[in-house]
Symmetry: D2
Subunit: 286 residues, 4 copies
């Protein structure tokens, strides 16, 4: 028996980059948190501390800033441009992943150079490797709530089940979703993102829900149906429980009006929708 | 020498209340975190564990939920209604403070019962005591950024000063502000809040800033000037530093385009603007 | 009517400083988060953006690092040394507060240069002004739990009270406490801190508690009784509720064994113990 | 083309369980955050909202509490007992994962029923499925620092490299590690955990490090070498950068004494060590 080095990777996490575009009458702000991850033949640094094949994480950070000098554009394109660069940046590096979170800002209508932070985060991940390249787009922290149109009943019961069935509950979640593009050739990243985000919101709102799984499936389905260049979507939906408060000790009824919003524990529903002709995911979800 | 019991208070922190109003075609959601604090003659429980004068914090939580049954309305009114109730709720209790954070939701236009979480938080604090009552309104986590129109120079220098002077920088902050109403009689809490929030945003955007202190003062001044029923405003503005990245090692210039957004440390600028005829604050800021 | 500039202050928050002492066989690590706050006649920068009286927050950060070059020593002494320096650092500055959080490390016994992060945080705050100077010491995030020896009953009941009385509960809290020294002359900061922390722990453990207020009072009393150079202590104790889980639906009893540890809401108990001959607090708690 | 339901799973995240054992003179506290995840044939709830195959997440939470009634014991055994239960708990459920975080408490020597929260977290994950079962043990938030014995030089350089080489730096990380047991038969979970944790600490301290990768490899190797029942270990080590502060503008040297501890960005080094005869991991890392 002996020991082996298994899978490994390294990179720079959470580089905070704000890009200001000053061309045009109104400025634009692109506010990103960028995480780069590299992999390849890195046995030497692990086994003997020989770093000749290691592109320092500090260099990766510098590269993010330097590439921003030429403009960021859409986050998918920026991530892809960086990922391609890192493959081969040292002879050992055969795979690179660049994950971007874009923090959103609204314009302050007062002038062309003032902004107000908006809720929700847009995400993009690009992977480049010798065998191909892949792009994911997504959202995180997109928190939504329906005050009606949600039921939960008919579930399996066992000795430990106490949950009451309900035909009308509050349904709330903070959407994290990532969708995989068929290829990396498209150039309409902006409208593709807006469309997908809009379809997530509409599907959440308009699905009469018998379970959060059903809502998840409807959201995923509508995103894919709306954009033929998407191959797959993965969603992670925490069930942000809203419990009706029992006001009967105070001789008050509570017809679906007063709720306690719980933090923990929470249900966590995760699922995937994909096309039957979706190309192989390869390293897309690395 | 002997030891004395000094100032003390107790309450229930961070009760999470979501109120759904179902009257009318479109539902309304009021999403609150409520903290109640009581004070008075509480020596007995401290000294001997005699709790006969203690209204349990669990009861305070119940009261928040029970009061919500009649509707929440504007958060200032809800806080005030609760604070008044708690004074005298036990014979020992002579002072109460109710602090509310309102988490904001936008409507999802898809229908009348779906909502999307918005950025920023509205706050309200009411204090009731034997000597009077006071209401504060405010915002927190209102994050804003100007890409130009901000300078910082001419500052005092000493042995430890290395900061370069600048005539054009990015200025960003997360506004926490609370403003004190002259009295608790007003009923236009909603429009008063909207107006103050709007003036904060406009003042931030339109002030050509020579220091964050100057911006703070302009923001406070405009809020008070726009609403004669306000007596005082206190602002706390973290300077969310955006440092221009030095790209010269890569033979690139950086004409105000690529920034590193730092987390810590950060400047913290705090100040007050008030009317010279402002009524005594009493326990407003307790 | 006109508007006035009221109370104001500014500074650098959360400067992260790690000091390594390499003299001696075993190294020592001092790991601090330092927040500096200055006040004085700062009207000019607020009203006109004239910064000639402003010592930049960047300079304050530099000063923290430069002062650490001479060694940090005990955090109270370091805070005081910095606070004294800042008063008069610009002609406008007449008051300074330096608040330090010390993150604690245990030695790794493997050698003299390896450390493991410990729980809890030591704090110190020094204020220097023209009228005097003051030092507070303290702890935060000191989380403690008793599995028995805590009761809560005999409390005031009203229409909204549903809480059951108990003669045996789990009592848990995360202690934040700050104690004020009679003067700034003492030099035994280290043993004074260790003694106070130990007395907090012992008083929490050994007080048979009829209310968290009674425990708070016992903790404060024992800290002051154990050190005649302390004038006052202020404690803030969140009641980290542990609710007995009702297992009866599963035909199981639960004799004080299985608990749900809740996050929110939580009780919050705050109180002060002081000597009747305590010197005036002045700006100690600014 | 049509759309398919892909991988999916659901469960209850972050159930907070505190178990008090009162037998014996001194009480014992087991403080856990438990996350359960189930998978199987859940198409019906996704496609039509038919929940007949769904064991509610509320039931999963109840089950965690009910199982604790019989005692928790070592977290690996508790996780495994729960995971086995969930497989087949509804006819659809063919896989279950139970992930436990154990929050550590030290005894307060004052008596047998008082405790003080310690740093670091012990983890355990059990997976049960029709094809087998697997157990991982681990740690998270184990923060360690070496003041010397760490170098970083000889790395690959490109156009974007500015990092200086160093032969003596501060090395700090917050260890997250999980190690896979050969099988689920062992009963010495407690000593196995203590041994692995101790070897992580010793390897971190005693490895003269030319790169954090080399330290990672040494840590993994020593854990496996010390316990023949371990098949594999995966480590995730954020490089918590400590930057030497440039004090030269103040005419001060800085011989490795004054550091700025940065939050973001940070290096992130991840790697695996495994035995060449390790059994197939199956669903261990699901």
């Amino acid at each position: 028996m002996h020991l082996e080095l298994g899978d490994n990777q390294y990179g720079k996490a959470e580089t905070r980059l704000v890009r200001v575009d000053r061309a045009g009458e109104a400025h634009r702000v692109t506010d990103l948190t960028v995480t780069t991850t590299l992999a390849g033949d890195l046995a030497a640094t692990h086994l003997t501390g020989d770093n000749s094949g290691v592109l320092p994480t500090d260099t990766q950070k510098n590269t993010v800033y330097a590439f921003a000098r030429d403009g960021v554009g859409q986050v998918e394109a920026f991530a892809l441009r960086l990922a391609r660069h890192f493959v081969g940046s040292a002879p050992t590096i055969t795979r690179a992943r660049v994950a971007v979170e874009q923090h959103l800002w609204d314009r302050n209508p007062a002038n062309g150079h003032s902004f107000v932070r908006a809720a929700g985060t847009r995400t993009a991940t690009a992977v480049s490797a010798e065998g191909g390249e892949w792009v994911l787009s997504g959202v995180t922290d997109l928190t939504v709530l329906n005050t009606t149109g949600s039921e939960f009943h008919g579930f399996h019961r066992d000795r430990f089940t106490t949950l009451a069935e309900t035909t009308d509950r509050v349904l709330a979640t903070a959407v994290t979703a990532r969708w995989r593009h068929r290829d990396t050739e498209r150039t309409d990243w902006k409208t593709a993102f807006s469309g997908a985000r809009q379809r997530l919101l509409t599907a959440f709102a308009d699905t009469h829900s018998l379970s959060l799984q059903q809502t998840l499936h409807a959201m995923g389905t509508q995103v894919l149906e709306g954009d033929e260049h998407l191959a797959e979507i993965r969603l992670s939906l925490p069930n942000k429980h809203h419990f009706l408060v029992d006001l009967s000790p105070f001789e008050l009824d509570n017809p679906g009006e007063v709720f306690y919003a719980a933090d923990r524990p929470y249900g966590l529903i995760e699922g995937t929708v994909l096309r039957d002709d979706a190309p192989d995911p390869g390293l897309a979800w690395w």
